[in-house]
């Protein structure tokens, strides 16, 4: 190879590398990339208690670094002999959407863009056809005459399509019936979002933004700890509350008493009473065989 060839080849090579570097320049803005620790972290089901402690400490550190506040992060385990079920009284729901906002306040969703797990549908009397539902109603006063309101959130299905399709088993059903997500395992393929018949799952399309004064510091690994860009999230029956014997935030805030929650395996619970005594209760899209743990009923 003579000198001219050498110079020409190196020139072309240098230009090529420069062009590639220029095209990759947006990567300079990359801030929140996962640490080596997070990258190598095992699936939730394979973490030993010692591993989990380290993981919780890491999460705590990250939250403190980002928000300047120290959280309390715990891994709540399911209680024995408990299967959670949610009952929603369609006669009582007035469509005020307080549940939607209480959920956001409790579970550290991104506020910009705002992620809401609960979607309330304004339905005309006499039909359960969701195509007739209005998602964007905003009158001065609710409820409006001639309509009823149906809040929809994750149905925690016994036969969950999202669990079936997840290629990495990042989402699964826990022994107490809650379908959970390991946010550090999810690869963000969104197959579960395509599979869910209830529009229950949400994706972090960008880095979540939570104003630090709104941060709920009582966090759980599988529940409301702050999520990162590129992973899925959804209603988890307020796992940090319900596994500690409290009610979900949506139930507590409901002014009409439309929401009922409890352990279906306990014959004395409110939900057991409802299931025994209310004549009509529905599971949404029952024909799909998902077997939801969410029951809508009427006061008859």
């Amino acid at each position: 190879m003579n000198r001219r060839n050498f110079l020409r080849t190196s020139g072309v090579l240098a230009a090529g590398i420069a062009a590639l570097a220029a095209s990759l320049s947006p990567l300079r803005e990359l801030s929140d990339f996962s640490s080596a620790e997070e990258f190598m972290q095992k699936h939730y089901k394979e973490l030993t208690p010692a591993d989990m402690e380290k993981v919780l400490a890491r999460i705590s550190r990250e939250v403190e670094k980002q928000y300047g506040l120290r959280p309390h992060v715990k891994d709540y385990k399911p209680m024995d002999g408990v299967e959670f079920v949610y009952c929603l009284n369609l006669t009582r729901c007035i469509g005020c959407r307080k549940c939607v906002h209480a959920c956001v306040a409790e579970n550290n969703q991104s506020r910009d863009p705002e992620i809401q797990y609960i979607r309330v549908l304004k339905m005309p009397h006499g039909s359960l056809d969701m195509e007739k539902g209005d998602h964007n109603y905003s009158p001065d006063m609710v409820p409006e005459k001639g309509f009823f309101y149906m809040p929809v959130q994750c149905q925690q299905c016994k036969n969950a399509p999202c669990v079936k399709v997840c290629p990495t088993r990042a989402t699964w059903t826990e022994p107490d019936g809650i379908t959970v997500i390991d946010y550090d395992w999810c690869i963000g393929c969104r197959y579960c979002e395509a599979a869910c018949p209830y529009f229950a799952r949400r994706f972090n399309w960008t880095k979540p933004k939570i104003p630090k004064e709104r941060l709920n510091l009582n966090m759980s690994y599988l529940g409301n700890r702050p999520r990162k860009q590129g992973v899925m999230e959804k209603c988890h029956f307020c796992i940090q509350r319900t596994r500690a014997g409290r009610y979900p935030a949506c139930l507590e805030v409901c002014p009409a008493g439309a929401r009922k929650f409890g352990n279906i395996l306990d014959p004395e619970s409110e939900v057991s009473y409802i299931m025994r005594n209310k004549r009509v209760f529905i599971q949404l899209k029952e024909e799909l065989g998902t077997s939801p743990r969410f029951f809508y009923y009427f006061d008859v």
Partner: protein, 447 residues
């Protein structure tokens, strides 16, 4: 053993070198493609930093052009097997070498598929979670896990078959049947499986009645076996024009038969779908209504689907009539078929499945500029890869690059104009052509 490795490395080195050698048309073509690839990389870097919010996707329409292109290209990759069937099952010697071009197209298509799926992931850095044993692989439950296996397996199969046949030709050795015939037959079945599994990704979702239908699988295969060979017909004519490689019209007409039958089946299946949806008119018809006629005032996809249907039907008529024996009309039919099927698979299948949402909400989808640049970048990368594969394989098939002329004899393959003229080579391509013509008429095909 060491000598064998050294020989192989030498072979790879020569292949690699020739990818960078060509005339001004070659450099121009590769230059334009490289520009698009760089633009695509830039757009993807932006997406990697800011997240998928830079695309037009939403929680309601959570898959867009990335997955649409992925679906179309899996079909193209599967269709490469269509070339293999007449050759090995019907023993059509005419098409033997062309099988390699088809399988190289499959490799390029699979690489594009893998790229499209990767850019669609929210956390591509966590891809290792998909590796069995190392990660947590949901096999056999999740159809996506099946897809990972079959796509990578198909890639390896085709790389092996092409690589083995080309290396044997390079060495001047007759390929041993055991090293490729069984793989070829596996590849035929495997090709059908990659597209069936991809179809099952959609079919298996009970919450999406537009997809949850038995016709999706057969329709996928019919449209893939129309668009794939159509692409190969066009690619072979370009190869014929730009290199001295001889490809007979008979080969193209055999492929035309495949496209003909597949297109007839494709249009028939479309007719079946339309009848089932619009005659019964259950509430599951919402997505089809949105696609063909618009729904509740939203009609963004209507012009697209009707264009696709018109293209497909016109292509079908051209293909069925004897006028398509003339290459001019055949090419028109191929272009119409490819574009029509690309629209159908992308905008006609993936997007309407999300509209209306499972709760009846109407949210439409339009890809953003950033998203489009990423797509163009990946397509350009695919074309780049296929061009490089051809640039490497054609001289080997023609005998211009072989073990026999290793070392001193690469006279007319490399070097700039002055050096070549000093050695008595005129234009690189003309020299290749002369050598190839001699090799082909002299010894004939030996297989």
């Amino acid at each position: 053993m060491i000598q064998a490795t050294k020989n192989y490395v030498r072979f790879l080195w020569r292949c690699g070198r020739i990818a960078f050698v060509g005339d001004w048309r070659y450099y121009g073509w590769m230059g334009i493609l490289s520009v698009f690839v760089l633009l695509g990389i830039n757009a993807y870097a932006r997406q990697f930093v800011h997240g998928l919010i830079v695309t037009g996707m939403s929680d309601q329409v959570s898959w867009g052009v990335y997955i649409a292109n992925f679906t179309f290209l899996v079909g193209v990759a599967a269709a490469a097997a269509m070339l293999v069937i007449p050759v090995y099952i019907y023993d059509n010697k005419e098409l033997h070498d062309l099988v390699i071009f088809g399988e190289l197209l499959a490799v390029a298509a699979i690489l594009m598929c893998l790229a499209f799926v990767t850019v669609d992931l929210g956390r591509p850095d966590r891809f290792w979670h998909l590796i069995p044993i190392l990660g947590k692989f949901n096999f056999p439950g999740s159809m996506l896990s099946w897809d990972v296996i079959v796509l990578n397996g198909y890639l390896l199969l085709n790389v092996h078959i092409c690589g083995y046949l080309l290396y044997c030709r390079y060495q001047g050795k007759k390929p041993s049947k055991w090293f490729y015939i069984p793989f070829v037959f596996v590849a035929i079945g495997w090709a059908v499986s990659i597209h069936t599994v991809t179809a099952f990704l959609y079919v298996g979702l009970g919450g999406r009645p537009f997809w949850n239908s038995s016709i999706v699988g057969p329709r996928f295969l019919a449209s893939a076996f129309t668009a794939g060979p159509a692409l190969i017909i066009l690619a072979l004519q370009i190869i014929r024009r730009v290199t001295a490689y001889r490809i007979s019209d008979q080969a193209l007409l055999t492929l035309r038969n495949i496209v003909q039958v597949s297109m007839l089946i494709n249009v028939f299946l479309l007719f079946n779908e339309v009848f089932k949806e619009f005659y019964t008119r259950t509430s599951h018809v919402a997505s089809s209504s949105y696609l063909f006629f618009g729904l509740h005032g939203y009609h963004a996809l209507v012009p697209w689907i009707w264009t696709a249907i018109v293209f497909n039907i016109v292509a079908m008529f051209i293909l069925v009539l004897p006028v398509s024996r003339s290459l001019k009309y055949l090419n028109i039919a191929c272009v119409l078929a490819i574009v029509g099927i690309w629209i159908e698979k992308g905008m006609g299948l993936v997007i309407p499945g999300f509209i209306p949402s499972p709760l009846g909400e109407m949210v439409e989808y339009t890809p953003t500029l950033n998203e489009t640049l990423v797509c163009l970048g990946i397509w350009a990368f695919g074309f780049l890869a296929y061009t490089v594969f051809l640039r490497m394989s054609i001289p080997i098939l023609q005998g211009t690059i072989s073990k026999a002329n290793e070392g001193a004899a690469d006279q007319c393959a490399f070097g700039d104009r002055e050096e070549l003229e000093a050695r008595g080579c005129n234009q690189k391509w003309r020299m290749d052509a002369a050598n190839a013509a001699e090799a082909q008429t002299g010894e004939g095909h030996s297989h």
